[in-house]
């Protein structure tokens, strides 16, 4: 009950944040609107990953595979002449979830490093397919898109080539997906998922089919990674094998570690930190990864709960001492 008074504060903060995000493209330079759009997509990607790591305790190194499935399904469907964005979104989610269900069926039998290695292996296989099946995927050139379906709203048609429209489109979809995730982790299934992370043996011995719970989480996480892939394909007007490379799978891992795996919005916060740092540091030097490493290491050593996790803990402690 002691958390009650904080609740409206958080709500006010979130409303302010959403208002700010909506307003951004109207006062920021186009360049920063692009950066912000990319942050939003990566935030969703990282949060889909954290449904596995933070909530079910599974470290997936193959999340980019499903991101890529979403991206390629979008590119292929648009090249086929599909016009409806909502159908393209659904198809992307569905194909990525389907791939995740099939691959997950084999992955969820193992834990920890074994799980991580199997997901890495499948991620690499998906990358190789995208890279080498040239007739379908265009090989290393990928599939560039010359046209994007228009965003059809009642009474108006907006072009996604307009950066502001694209950004707002991404914002709406990402917020909807985050809202879905938020409901999910607060549902009975969310508690069962946390129980998998906490003690899978005890959970099995109160009657849960642990593999099935994990497979369900893996499939949902895959579908959401696919959704972020759809957005990324539209955002870049192309799908390339790079999206599926294992180094892309490392991104949500890094973002989650930066932001904090135990905080719902931790990975999104991590994504923002990741990209803002990249912007600032690449202005100064080409060796930005060295700086990223130099930041990550102290975070892991001194703030294992991530930057947002540590900030929230500090904030809560301050409040408690105030009382």
């Amino acid at each position: 009950m002691k958390n009650r008074p904080e609740y409206p504060k958080t709500a006010v903060f979130l409303i302010f944040l959403i208002g700010f995000l909506v307003a951004c493209p109207f006062f920021l330079p186009t360049y920063w609107t692009f950066i912000l759009g990319e942050i939003l997509i990566m935030a969703l990607f990282a949060m889909s990953f954290n449904l596995l790591l933070g909530y079910s305790g599974l470290l997936s190194f193959g999340q980019a595979g499903f991101f890529g499935v979403g991206a390629y399904s979008t590119a292929l469907l648009i090249l086929q002449g599909w016009q409806s964005l909502s159908l393209i979104l659904l198809a992307g989610i569905f194909s990525a979830a389907l791939a995740a269900a099939a691959i997950g069926y084999l992955c969820v039998r193992r834990d920890e490093i074994y799980f991580a290695m199997i997901t890495l292996g499948f991620g690499m296989m998906l990358f190789t397919i995208a890279h080498n099946w040239i007739e379908l995927t265009g090989g290393s050139d990928g599939l560039p898109l010359a046209v994007l379906p228009a965003l059809k709203l009642p009474g108006l048609e907006l072009s996604l080539f307009d950066p502001r429209n694209m950004y707002l489109f991404i914002l709406v979809i990402v917020l909807a997906a985050i809202f879905f995730l938020w409901r999910l982790v607060r549902s009975p299934f969310g508690l069962i998922l946390t129980a998998v992370r906490e003690n899978k043996e005890r959970l099995a011995f109160v009657g849960a089919d642990v593999r099935m719970v994990r497979l369900t989480a893996f499939t949902i996480a895959g579908g959401l990674a696919g959704l972020s892939g759809v957005l990324f394909c539209l955002f870049n007007s192309m799908a390339t094998p790079d999206f599926m490379h294992w180094s892309y799978s490392a991104r949500p891992v890094l973002m989650t570690v930066l932001g904090g795996a135990e905080i719902f919005l931790g990975p999104a916060f991590g994504a923002a930190v990741f990209f803002l740092l990249e912007q600032v540091i690449t202005n100064v030097t080409d060796n930005w990864m060295i700086f990223l490493g130099a930041i990550l290491i102290p975070v892991v050593i001194f703030f294992p709960q991530g930057i947002l996790g540590t900030m929230i803990k500090y904030f809560n402690r301050e409040q408690e001492t105030d009382k």
Partner: protein, 255 residues
């Protein structure tokens, strides 16, 4: 119906490689009878429990729970039938609150495990049931605390609450008083007795502490080197020369 034993085991065997941990055990436990399994360290008690509860399948033999065969079934299939177990080393959800610990088996029992978009807070009835279980066990006051913050003995009680939440017919307790001080042990004994009487739950427990065994068990099985050495009431077991020989090196059973 009342004649069907709650647990029937036929020629059960289990081997790790060539080493026969459990060898040709057959036994029956009638419904409602508080039963204990005793035996020296390494007699195979925990392996025996692991096999019955579905942690791994037996190499040989058959297991029947309330007349239905459960041989080789995984835990998540056996649990809904009404058999639950505790572990020798306390096995709970440490970071979750005590109330959530108990809520998890209740969600599973009422098939809410795959309820995705409805808020957990709306499961008011299950929260209420969880609190009833906690007050039966006497740990309601810790409901909001993370389970890992409780004292050792209370953590063991949390596991009891987790196990009992689904109202099982048969409960396997692997050394329920292990590591407890005399006061906590006394409390656990009273609790088991009370629950057995009030709900007709059958308890089948292993125990190191002979005082506990002889004070609550109506029937005792003695396990020795993987085989069943003797069966009987506490008096019969105490008087059994074979048991004295094997188990206590010829001495008296202290209690």
């Amino acid at each position: 119906m009342s004649n069907v034993p709650i647990l029937k085991i036929e020629h059960l065997g289990h081997a790790y490689g060539k080493f026969q941990v459990i060898n040709d055990i057959s036994l029956k436990i009638p419904k409602g009878e508080l039963t204990a399994l005793i035996g020296p360290n390494g007699a195979g008690k925990t392996t025996f429990y692991n096999v019955i509860s579905g942690r791994f399948p037996p190499s040989k033999g058959r297991i029947f729970f309330a007349g239905r065969e459960i041989t080789g079934k995984p835990a998540h299939k056996i649990v809904p039938m009404g058999m639950l177990r505790s572990f020798q080393i306390t096995n709970i959800f440490p970071k979750l609150s005590v109330r959530e610990n108990v809520l998890i088996p209740l969600l599973l029992q009422h098939r809410r495990g795959y309820t995705f978009l409805r808020s957990l807070k709306r499961e008011k009835q299950l929260y209420q049931q969880a609190d009833e279980v906690l007050s039966q066990i006497g740990i309601l006051e810790y409901g909001n605390k993370p389970a890992r913050e409780l004292a050792y003995g209370d953590k063991r009680l949390v596991e009891m609450a987790v196990v009992l939440a689904r109202k099982p017919k048969l409960v396997l307790l692997d050394e329920p008083t292990a590591g407890m001080n005399p006061e906590e042990t006394e409390r656990m004994i009273l609790l088991i007795k009370e629950l057995a009487e009030r709900f007709g739950t059958t308890f089948f427990l292993t125990e190191h502490d002979m005082k506990v065994v002889f004070s609550i068990a109506r029937r005792i099985f003695v396990l020795h080197q993987g085989g069943l050495l003797a069966t009987g009431t506490p008096e019969e077991i105490r008087a059994n020369p074979q048991v004295r020989e094997a188990y206590l090196g010829g001495g008296d059973i202290k209690c």
